[in-house]
Amino acid sequence: MIVCERKPLPAILENLAGRRRAVIAGCSECVTVCHAGGEKEVALLRDLLLLARPDLELGTIVLTRQCDGEFLEALDALAGEADCLISMACGVGAQFLAERYPHTWVFPAVDTRFGGGARQPGVWEERCGFCGDCVLHLTGGICPIIRCSKSLLNGPCGGSQQGKCEIDEAIECAWQKIHDRLEGLGRLDLLDVVLPAKDWSRARDGGPRKLVREDVAL
């Protein structure tokens, strides 16, 4: 999922300066699962904002998916009366709102942190760097692009100590994990393969990405 985290209240209030009628728009997808912008968080933000700014007129809605044009229509009526929209979805959702309402100010109430998953309640970890060219079949299902601090492709750097990354003891060395897992699977031979310089053109480096699939197009 796209893991998000709500911005501090003062930052949200700052964006509301000089505005009176706002709509808080949540999303039922990732931000609901990671407790950043679902129904509960939308209601909480509404209460917090009204405590600080009793003069605000706040509408609320939780859209099925903010990253999907067909679900935005549900917001049209509310948006028409507001002087700004507060998106609690990821950056994709906030941009979809800005595109749909060209004359309405849209701002985010969450920071979009990373592509990851929940390890335990309240703990999320990054797992995918969206590089566009998956190497997990070569690395035992552990991503060196995003889990190694240097995105190394041919093994650990000299800073790997006792399974920890040199930049922070709280970070596991991805290559230690890859090594251990491949050892368990009896495939340490994969570590001998020299992986060539990666083609980053399929990642963000190649420019903003677009995927077109004719088989699912209307």
Binding site: K198, W200, A203, D205, G206, G207
Partner: protein, 308 residues
């Protein structure tokens, strides 16, 4: 270290109409071409730009090329792009370049690597060109690294820092605001994209003057002599370059073997036009692969001899 201050900076401060040229480093480990082009340009230009892996094609480094230019008696202007290095490498290279005698620096964003010969490369863009200008200026005065840590007073690199601007890119109205940001960040000179559409450039300069920017930075208009109709037509297809139809038609109407002559004429006329536009402090002649024509263009434009 060699001379304390940039020669180009002094000439501009003295009010001379400056002429700069360009040397493209080679795609190999040799300096003969750089020495040759420096010899051609040094008497007729006040500074020579060394491009930094232009169009994202690997070439000999601009800083190494600058050392060859210095040794050949030229006045190098190092180009530095944001594409390939983060702030650590950039600052390190700037310290190195200054210690080797380079005094002029042109800060650029850099062409995207998808245009070059290593399209699979990662891009850096840790800083953008505005931030690079600020970082480069700050190294000299107040003499701090990008993180705010001080550099010993006697070891600060005091580059004459410039930037580029393209009056022909869009949105047109944004271009002057962006220029203002570069000037506010500390750009002391500006070299523009090649100018073919003179009325549009004149309009841009009007906006520049209205914003008072011509009094805060030295604006050098870009001149790109075209050798042939084909070359001119190619330029008209480059993103951010505008070649007006009548100019294309004029070149097309000239028989092929006389087209280089026409290209020189067009360049000379453009320089003369630019000299009449208030606020233009000089010209930057980009004659890559046609360096031998620069002395003639500068002479016919009435810009010789160069001030010493």
């Amino acid at each position: 270290m060699s001379a304390e201050r940039s020669r180009l900076e002094r000439l501009l401060e003295q009010g001379h109409f400056a002429v700069t040229g360009e040397v493209g480093p080679p795609q190999g480990a040799e300096a003969e071409g750089i020495r040759h082009h420096t010899a051609l340009l040094k008497g007729v230009t006040d500074g020579q730009n060394l491009t930094d892996n232009q169009t994202a094609i690997v070439r000999l480094s601009s800083i190494a090329a600058a050392v060859h230019v210095l040794a050949a008696g030229g006045e190098p202007i190092i180009q530095m792009t944001c594409r390939d290095r983060n702030r650590i490498a950039m600052q390190s290279d700037l310290l190195g370049a200054y210690s080797l005698g380079a005094r002029n620096l042109l800060c650029l964003t850099g062409d995207h690597q998808s245009f070059g010969n290593h399209a699979a490369a990662r891009n850096v863009f840790d800083l953008d060109s505005v931030q690079l200008v600020k970082m480069a200026r700050d190294l000299g005065d107040p003499g701090v690294f990008q993180n705010g840590e001080a550099i010993a007073a006697e070891h600060r690199p005091r580059f004459f820092v410039g930037a580029a601007e393209n009056p022909f890119a869009e949105p047109f109205a944004f271009r002057v605001r962006r220029l203002a940001k570069k000037v506010a960040a500390g750009a002391r000179f500006i070299q523009t994209q090649a100018i073919f559409d003179l009325p549009r450039f004149a309009r841009w300069m009007e906006m520049v003057r209205e914003a008072g920017l011509d009094r805060k930075t030295y604006i050098l208009g870009g001149i790109c002599p075209a050798k042939s109709f084909g070359a001119l037509r190619h330029m008209s297809t480059v993103p951010g370059m505008v070649v007006p139809e009548p100019l294309l038609a004029r070149m097309k109407g000239v028989e092929r073997k006389k087209q280089p002559e026409e290209g020189v004429k067009i360049a000379v006329e453009a320089i003369q036009e630019l000299r009449r536009i208030p606020g233009v402090a000089g010209v930057h002649i980009m004659a890559i692969m046609w360096e031998e024509m620069v002395p003639r263009i500068v002479e016919e434009a009435g810009l010789l001899p160069r001030p010493s």
